[in-house]
Symmetry: C2
Subunit: 196 residues, 2 copies
């Protein structure tokens, strides 16, 4: 009908979770917006893709060489929380319950996906710990086999530094019912019981 | 954390049905795409918004003054199907069961939303019918009060032309069970019964 529409729908439906129907709805929505609005959207995506950096210390997304968290002198620099992805940092920051630094691996060891230890930023983490001042590394990776393998690999790599390596607690979620917990979580919750 | 990321997420979450979480997921997805891919998406949206036209005959979206349907000489030019939105044309075209022309109103009469008859392309429709060659105008508007009001208004406007004005059938969907139909649909289906 219209190649301009077809191309917009085609490009939008390349986005994950956006089917052809949703793409059409989005395109028709943009048609009702002022041109400046569509230009703002487009330029924000290109600017982001073109100019975003990786923090040279923690590998998190950053506009600058050193990210705002790593350069924030009020943060607790003795603790590094290791996460898989950028979005994990945002999730933990959102809680406002953690004041240490982060380290973004960029994934987990997964031979099936061709991701080996050298594809992750473990060396950078070890270097940061070796530089001194860090007393604890908290591993906050997923509970998948890949996550567990990666946690084990990192703890092995950090062994020589003598830093304390911990993992976030696994158990029944706060406010969750025991009968809704899956078996693995329940087994973890039982074996990691603590004295009151 | 990153203003570039914040701005991309902010712009993406202005889209209908896209919350902040989805916007973040989309932004991080774009980060993994080649720059050319992000540029193709951005330029497709701007090109669409900037260059799309309205067909001077049917008011449908078009890259040219006259849309491909209106300029297609193999279509049945004696029938015009009146729809509310561009996406209704796509839906009907998708069935491949209609070979006539279309007329896109661009909405329905809705005093609540400040949309009066003059905001719709009814005059253009009447002009097209007056020009001759059209024997039937099929109204395919929604069954809302606004849709019914608009249908009535259009049939009144077309009365003087003597063209036959019909409305698409309302009834139980093909393959649908009677017990799942809502009351209004069922009443319509009963009153619009036909001889076998």
């Amino acid at each position: 009908m219209s190649q301009l529409l077809d191309r917009a729908v085609d490009e939008l439906s390349k986005l994950p979770g956006i089917g052809e129907r949703t793409a059409l709805r989005l395109a028709l929505h943009l048609l009702r917006q002022p041109l400046e609005g569509v230009e703002a959207l487009s330029s924000s995506l290109i600017d982001f893709r073109r100019n975003i950096k990786r923090c040279r210390m923690c590998n998190n997304l950053s506009d600058t060489d050193l990210c705002p968290i790593c350069s924030d002198t009020t943060r607790d620099r003795s603790t590094i929380c290791v996460v898989e992805q950028v979005k994990d940092v945002l999730t933990i920051e959102h809680t406002r319950g953690y004041r240490g630094l982060y380290h973004v691996l960029g994934g987990v060891i997964s031979p099936m996906d061709g991701i080996g230890p050298s594809d992750l930023k473990v060396g950078l983490l070890v270097d940061n710990v070796r530089r001194g001042g860090v007393t604890e590394v908290i591993l906050a990776l997923s509970t998948s086999i890949e996550g567990e393998t990666t946690s084990y690999y990192i703890s092995r790599q950090l062994a020589e530094t003598g830093v304390k390596v911990t993992a976030i607690a696994r158990g029944i979620g706060f406010g969750d019912e025991i009968d809704y917990a899956d078996d693995v979580t329940l087994v973890h919750a039982l074996s990691n019981r603590r004295a009151l």
